[in-house]
Symmetry: C2
Subunit: 366 residues, 2 copies
Amino acid sequence: MPVFSASDSAHMARALQLAERGQYSAHPNPMVGCVIVRDNQVVGEGWHAMAGEPHAEINALQAAGDDAQGATVYVTLEPCAHDGKTPPCSTALVEAGVARVIAAMQDPFPRVAGRGLGRLKEAGIETAVGLMQAAAESLNAGFVSRVTRNRPLVRLKVAASIDGAIAMKSGDSQWVSGPEARHDVQRLRASSGAIMTGIGTVIADDPSLNVRAPELDTRGVQPLRVVLDSRLRMPPAAGMLTLPGTTLVCCTGDRDGSRLADAGAEVRSFAPDGAVVDVSAVLGDLARREVNVVLVEAGPGVAGYLLEKDLVDELVIYQAPHIMGSETRGMFHTPSWTRLADRRKLEVCDVRRIGDDTRITARVRH
Amino acid sequence: MPVFSASDSAHMARALQLAERGQYSAHPNPMVGCVIVRDNQVVGEGWHAMAGEPHAEINALQAAGDDAQGATVYVTLEPCAHDGKTPPCSTALVEAGVARVIAAMQDPFPRVAGRGLGRLKEAGIETAVGLMQAAAESLNAGFVSRVTRNRPLVRLKVAASIDGAIAMKSGDSQWVSGPEARHDVQRLRASSGAIMTGIGTVIADDPSLNVRAPELDTRGVQPLRVVLDSRLRMPPAAGMLTLPGTTLVCCTGDRDGSRLADAGAEVRSFAPDGAVVDVSAVLGDLARREVNVVLVEAGPGVAGYLLEKDLVDELVIYQAPHIMGSETRGMFHTPSWTRLADRRKLEVCDVRRIGDDTRITARVRH
């Protein structure tokens, strides 16, 4: 295990910060940041902004110019070794004459992990891996999920009162969370490759499920909208079909989707799971479409189904400062969980105030 | 409005910290801390530990000795002007020859507010009030409630899953929160003059409702245990009746409490509110018994009733990192709340991790 200095950590922390600048535009590529340091001076910084544009290392090398010679390179992900849309970064680093490359984590593709660093080693460059690895893996958890599990990271978002209610039983409801929390959801959407909902929510609320906050620069790309709609009840007049971007309507069996297709939807039939769409199959399809993160914004039925099937990786709860009491609808409909042992355990990662609401981010233990 | 310096604030912050040392033993008296400063040096510190023992100012004056002459006194509550169990602090401060007295807040008794400071002014001592007043009022919110509203502060404690469940509908249940949270509840109990529960909880769980953590020094005093039991179903064999301290069983109408009295309970009849005890009347009785804070540890029925009647001042939720789903019992049974407008608004004051649980402290907006 290599020993890293405090200054190594500081530079890698900066590289991680740079990587985050790609959070709304880099996907389906991973977010990557790079810092080049010579004689304790930062001589170049870079990050990856968007597929087809230069990788973080190339941007940082360009900023460093001749100063890259003999320098140390901090990069949040192992430099690539394969010719993709751009020439491989490992080659560029060798050509620039850098002395040392520290990567936070290996390439998550099991079959290529270590190859980029291997090329650097062959060229006589000192390499090390694992500095701030947990933070780097967490930053690209969606990308890692897609390439290692062939399914996106599933992030379930719910807005509820402090006692876990989302609406009154009587149907009396309105926004549960405040404007700051709703704006925060825009950030979640902009970080996602797809947003999933159920047909019940579409019929009840006609949601847009798009990124509207102008300061969130997704380079004009809208997340794929995914509607779980086994019986193909999607109204061709649904508002989301008129918006930029693609809406994928997921049904089961052999159904006529021509009217929806005319209205702009992509209709696809998936294997059924009882009366509903097998969401595992949908997630496989989304991975093939290079979706790293799916944000689920749905009602208690879809949310509960995904929890019952253990398909949720992360939960984001916006808890409003209200007590709504017992005559309410709960967050998750989980009819199959009747014993205490059925409950799902969480690892709470982050709790913070968003306006008047409390946002709780938790990983679901599988 | 007097202008306070940064050093004034620092000394008052220290006085507040000293006051907190009385949190498990000072009640029914308020917690008070005092710092005496001469020539920018702290020459005396004191706090009030227990009724019958010296007030904070007296302890600080004793520590300061002759150095109190010409000094500035920081005290979290206006010094008393009346002869109580000890001679009035205002007299002692005058006799010690202090130059200046800064109080965080006035005496909350409307009829005596300002009298202690008035006596000091008459003696030529410079006085000021209001430095860190919000913190001082919050520290003694229970005492302030009792003397200004003639009822204790009602703090409702609930342990629930992140989706607001306290048990499975099937009855399958166990500790919802972890050991650190359960220990934290010991602190809540030790800070309370009374602990209230419902007869349903007594019959189901036979709780002790006592302070057991040896490091919480309540000077041997146990909080009054209060059981809401309109029909006097309390079992004479209930465990709490065998423990040190008093158990008050609150029923309605004319019932024979002799067997319970023989078992050690104090039985009292209160006005009914429909089929249950009118808790407002019980709270009035508790204020007369000099209870500053009532901690409610009860099931969804009592908790919901108190919320419906707007009798809860503060909510403390221990949220366990679990999703329990829909086949569960909720935190509050509030059958009368059918419209969204019935919900109660909260002001979240504090959110922190206690072991694996998240503790949310919130004030209920009346």
